[in-house]
Amino acid sequence: MRAIESRSIIMIFFIMFYVVTGCKSLEFLKSKSEIKVRDLLGREIVLRGNPKRIVSLVPSVTEILFLLGEGKRVVGVTEFDDYPPEVKNIPRVGGFKYPNIELVVSLKPDVVVISNVVGKHVAQYFERLNIPTLVLDASNIDEMFYVIETLGRVTGRKDKAEEIIANFKEEIDKIKERTKNLKKKRVLHIASISENFVAGKGTFIDTLIEIAGGENIVDRPGWIRLNLEEVVRRDPEIIITSPHAGRIEDLKKIPAYRDTTAIKEGKILILPSDIISRPTPRLIIALREIARFVHPEVF
């Protein structure tokens, strides 16, 4: 009887010991190496520690990783990646739209970052191969801050990320300060001249225009194909476009544009497309240019 008792006491003791230490060691593992991330599709992804090998299929994400000083972790990029210059030596694993799955897998990534253009089902495909995948391509300034913060957290560079965001906000405030009491100029951003495809509310360029003391003449959200009558009605004073949007000569030939203030006064700003369309802190360069162009009197 006593023997049984003592044995069961020992057993209980062992069980308790295992439970307690087991929990503790699990807890320890969790806090040490698991990183939970929510991507821009709202999916929660669990990473096993800071990823050492990242395949970035979003040029802006590549750029931000380099800015965080973590460019060495990037092992694969898209064929469109051109900034910073170091990315030239990183293997290309397909376009922004269609990654080459075999090449991505062969790089043994700890995490893959894709854009929403590629879509949820590509993310799910990678996850079935046990490769955590994040959808992180910002479509407005707040999302850009979220992406920077998330990448900072993932790579263990939280401070650096916060610093970048703070600097960016500070720059914005400086420009806002100078333009806040000035009369707003009517601005239009054209992404494609032949389709009259323009930036509406909530897009990056729209936010930059607002900060620079302008007013986007398009008040519908997102990227839209603008009715030419609307161009005549709102008469833009400034037109911002990029080299790949089309030829300015063609724009001047369109009757609706011919008599706008912007065309008559020659107020057309052409900015390189990568600095106005990529959600990275380099947007600040575009912002300064736009502000200088919209309100030359204070810059």
């Binding site: 599709l41 064929e79 290309r92 694993v93 397909g94 376009g95 739209k97 269609y98 080459n100 799955i101 075999e102 090449l103 897998v105 062969s106 043994k108 929403n116 253009v117 590629v118 879509g119 949820k120 089902h121 590509v122 799910q124 495909y125 079935r128 191969l129 990227w223």
Partner: protein
């Protein structure tokens, strides 16, 4: 009979060769020795994943879909007595494309893209069959015309979705042009049983099809209920096509030209033509898939583009021949 068996044997060898080639060739160069060790299970790493979880399922998927499309194409051409008929003629593809587009636009993920495209593909075919048999017996002409009308109706909605949600255009276009790049074991596991069972059921009717092709009246005299047989074949064919399309998107021309090429090689007897055409379609599709991922490495061309590049000129040639024959 002996010669025909030889043909089937040869095309079977062709298919096996294509499958081996497809597993051996890809964006990542993996030596044949490595592949051998991976296949016998003696290696555990990312290369193994590439062979066993990426290349193999997509190759099998391509082979099965190519086979099914060719079989269905053979039957539909005979059944509708129209050399231009293909598996999509009754509007399956447009329905499937609409289903997939809805799932893509609302970001529902991979399972729903497959499921909705399957369901919509089958529904649209039912609808076409229902409309065209409203006033009594369905004539094949009405059926084809209704198919065309319903297809353009469905595609107008796809265009509308693409216009409204332009950030998802790339995904929709990729799907419409067809691709096996995201075909994994789970896609193969739920589509293959339907496709293989369906193709086999259709094969059982190849003798009846022979009779129907010679004339519906004479088929009735042979004791074949033409209307019932046709209904069974159209239904099965549509379900098979819808499950192909739900996996790979719309891949054109395989289901159109393979039956014609096969007919030139082995003659019109469907008991031989159907299996030959199926194996031929599988080989053609696997070859197209190999090309789709190798012609402009590292990018992938949609497989539908490849099949169209080969298929369209042949289709034109065929068109000329049919015209001359009239």
């Amino acid at each position: 009979m002996y010669r025909r068996r030889l043909y089937i044997f040869l095309v079977l060898i062709l298919l096996v060769f294509m499958i081996l080639l497809s597993v051996g060739i890809g964006s990542v160069d993996i030596g044949f020795k490595d592949i051998f060790w991976i296949l016998v299970g003696k290696r555990e790493d990312r290369l193994r994943d590439i062979i066993l979880l990426i290349r193999l399922p997509r190759t099998i998927g391509a082979a099965i879909c190519g086979m099914a499309l060719a079989v269905v194409g053979t039957f539909f051409q005979g059944l509708l007595r129209n050399p231009m008929a293909d598996p999509y003629i009754l509007g399956v593809s447009s329905g499937s494309a609409l289903g997939a587009t809805i799932a893509i636009v609302f970001n529902m993920g991979i399972v729903f893209v497959n499921l909705l495209s399957f369901v919509m593909g089958v529904l649209v075919t039912f609808f076409v069959y229902f409309i065209s048999s409203l006033n009594g017996r369905s004539s094949t002409y009405t059926m084809i015309l209704v198919g065309v009308a319903v297809s353009s109706f469905a595609f107008s909605f796809i265009s509308l979705f693409m216009f409204i949600k332009h950030e998802q255009i790339a995904q929709i276009v990729m799907w419409i042009m067809g691709s096996f790049s995201l075909v994994g074991w789970s896609e193969v596991s739920y589509s293959a049983p339907i496709i293989i069972a369906g193709s086999f059921i259709m094969y059982l009717f190849s003798r009846d099809l022979n009779a129907i092709i010679t004339g519906e009246e004479s088929a009735e005299h042979l004791g074949i209920d033409v209307e019932v047989v046709r209904r069974i074949l159209l239904f099965t064919g549509s379900v098979v096509t819808a499950s192909c399309v739900s996996v790979s998107g719309i891949v054109g021309f395989v289901g159109l030209i393979t039956p014609h090429i096969s007919r030139l090689l082995v003659g019109p007897d469907n008991r031989i033509l159907v299996p030959f055409s199926g194996l031929m379609g599988g080989s053609f599709m696997v070859l197209a898939d190999i090309l789709s991922r190798t012609v402009i490495k590292p990018a992938e061309v949609p497989v539908g583009v490849i099949t169209a590049i080969f298929g369209a000129p042949f289709f034109l040639y065929l068109l000329m021949r049919v015209r001359r024959g009239e």
